[in-house]
Symmetry: D2
Subunit: 205 residues, 4 copies
Amino acid sequence: MQPIEKLESEKIVAKNQIALQTVMNKLQLINKELSVREGRILIHNISGRIKEPNSIKVKLRKKGCEENYETALEVINDIIGARAVCYYMDDLYLVADVLNTHKDMEIIKIKNYMEHPKKTGYRSLHLIVKLMIPYGGKQEMVKVEIQLRTFAMDYWAVLDHQLRYKKENTDNDSEKIEKELMDYADSLESIDKKMMKLRNKIAKI
Amino acid sequence: MQPIEKLESEKIVAKNQIALQTVMNKLQLINKELSVREGRILIHNISGRIKEPNSIKVKLRKKGCEENYETALEVINDIIGARAVCYYMDDLYLVADVLNTHKDMEIIKIKNYMEHPKKTGYRSLHLIVKLMIPYGGKQEMVKVEIQLRTFAMDYWAVLDHQLRYKKENTDNDSEKIEKELMDYADSLESIDKKMMKLRNKIAKI
Amino acid sequence: MQPIEKLESEKIVAKNQIALQTVMNKLQLINKELSVREGRILIHNISGRIKEPNSIKVKLRKKGCEENYETALEVINDIIGARAVCYYMDDLYLVADVLNTHKDMEIIKIKNYMEHPKKTGYRSLHLIVKLMIPYGGKQEMVKVEIQLRTFAMDYWAVLDHQLRYKKENTDNDSEKIEKELMDYADSLESIDKKMMKLRNKIAKI
Amino acid sequence: MQPIEKLESEKIVAKNQIALQTVMNKLQLINKELSVREGRILIHNISGRIKEPNSIKVKLRKKGCEENYETALEVINDIIGARAVCYYMDDLYLVADVLNTHKDMEIIKIKNYMEHPKKTGYRSLHLIVKLMIPYGGKQEMVKVEIQLRTFAMDYWAVLDHQLRYKKENTDNDSEKIEKELMDYADSLESIDKKMMKLRNKIAKI
């Protein structure tokens, strides 16, 4: 077993950055391809981040796992994370379908928080993929989490994240706040669905 | 009176691009300043565009105005348009307040579509400003429209724009669709307000 | 045979943009990989462009070829062109070597204008590659020209290009100007070589 | 006197970033303005950096100054540094002239290392400016160093910087290497001048 600090070695950092950039590039090029095919832009914006070593340690501890390099790679799916924010709910599947045809990538797990939201109200489509990148003259496999969201899901998730972070040290009213946030997630989903239906109705006219 | 084609002259195009870039830079720097002051990021993203000469002509005709250069500059406020999308409703005023302290700019008109939404449901805070830019060794005055929106307002406006554009040539069901879109705008405003209240509640805890 | 205008169809334009972006991304990621390996940055900047349909027609005519889509694709190597500017002459080979290990790409031709400069004095290492890109659910092959240059070669080529363009319509002094530019190319090569030797000398100390 | 660590306070860091971005924006907009006026692009690329606190301390010690905040601001001109790389030698003066017409900026010192190169061979035109930026509702004065260079000067300076850094810990051959680098700087200046003359000759034809 190698120490968890290996995650901060120059070689691993570079490899992770290359993997992240490769996935973000893929999403950008898929947007171009689908825009031509569908006659409208599907992805509103793309972002990405590499998880801080500290957050990785915290997550390992929470899960009751050992803090070493191999366990981190195995247990934590979102060390490298990319996000694409789409306009409509069905866009998420269109993007996922194209990703599925890419030969240098394999989708190894799908977490459909759009159909089955988290208890908090969180909605998103998560794809855990294994990506092949050329590095050091060889092909290397790297795990990446791709989050696909609608604009409305992203609006909720971004504000929820900010608010959760702020209230971290309080417990008063905590349940009430949780309940409120969940309600807003439901309301937003309802609008999201109606917007999609409206788009379909208009397309048919 | 000069012909409307002057808008497409190399010199005017360059001046407009310089003005747009200057305002977008301002918004970016204001975001940095306010982030330090407020301890949280206020602006989620900034964008901008220069109105196509064709759209300017169409707009002049709609307003029953003559199609010449001077009238275009006088009548059309959004030839140059920048947009900042914020997290919360009160952020719009915070950004506007800082813009108001900038010496190279004067706010000449405020259209508060947040407090007084358009009939369609459109919400946003529009500032029409006169910006002084150094150009050709002199100070030149250029008019720019700055649109400040929350994430939720932007979500609605972006989808509304897409859908309106698609249904342009239909008239069937038109009223029903308008009504639907307006309802979603109202629902989103209601969520927007609650999110802001929630933030304030958490900040106080 | 399909008409040359096919090059301007939305699908082909999108495919070309995807191919160009893919190669530019590759160069960026190779720079990251090599920086870690060599302990210094190798690529100073990366750029790219898609050849204008008009320039393609002009080039076909010059070569005495028919103006149709298939001939354009076959005869013209730089419809899609990417450029990486490196610090030292041997960096060009290091970058080319890594490109050669990429499985989604095949180098089909090398034009070594570094060892065998053009008559004008032009120096660069050109790789004509066939790139596989996922598009429309399939793998498509696209031809791309990759130009690798040192800073000094780029300096000469950029100024040469500007000056040649400006003097296009003159013929007076033309030969003298050509001769001058060629001399500067030689002087720059001599400096380029000495800078590389100096780097090697310092590395050994 | 305030401690030197103040340079790392969030407020000062943000102010410095705003100042740097403002100057880089200025250079970009000047490039646009001059391109229209001169009918050719003058600036090839723009970059910038904020000096690391450690480098500031080292520089203060070298100069035999006290290490505190006020002395740093007074003595060190390039805490904030922006650089524009131009095509031809006379472009440097054209850019400086436009900067001189900007009302929110004052050039307080010119170091003309183009006419009077450093002993090492370093050439560049340095402008030390006082820039007025809106910050915290007020106008604040910030000192910025703007380096204007030709492509050839930049080529030399970038490689010289790399090589000097690498040979830092050696002293053998040091003088010989210095002499070599100086010679290359002279050769490059000679090419630079001829390129400018050639451009003028062509323009006149």
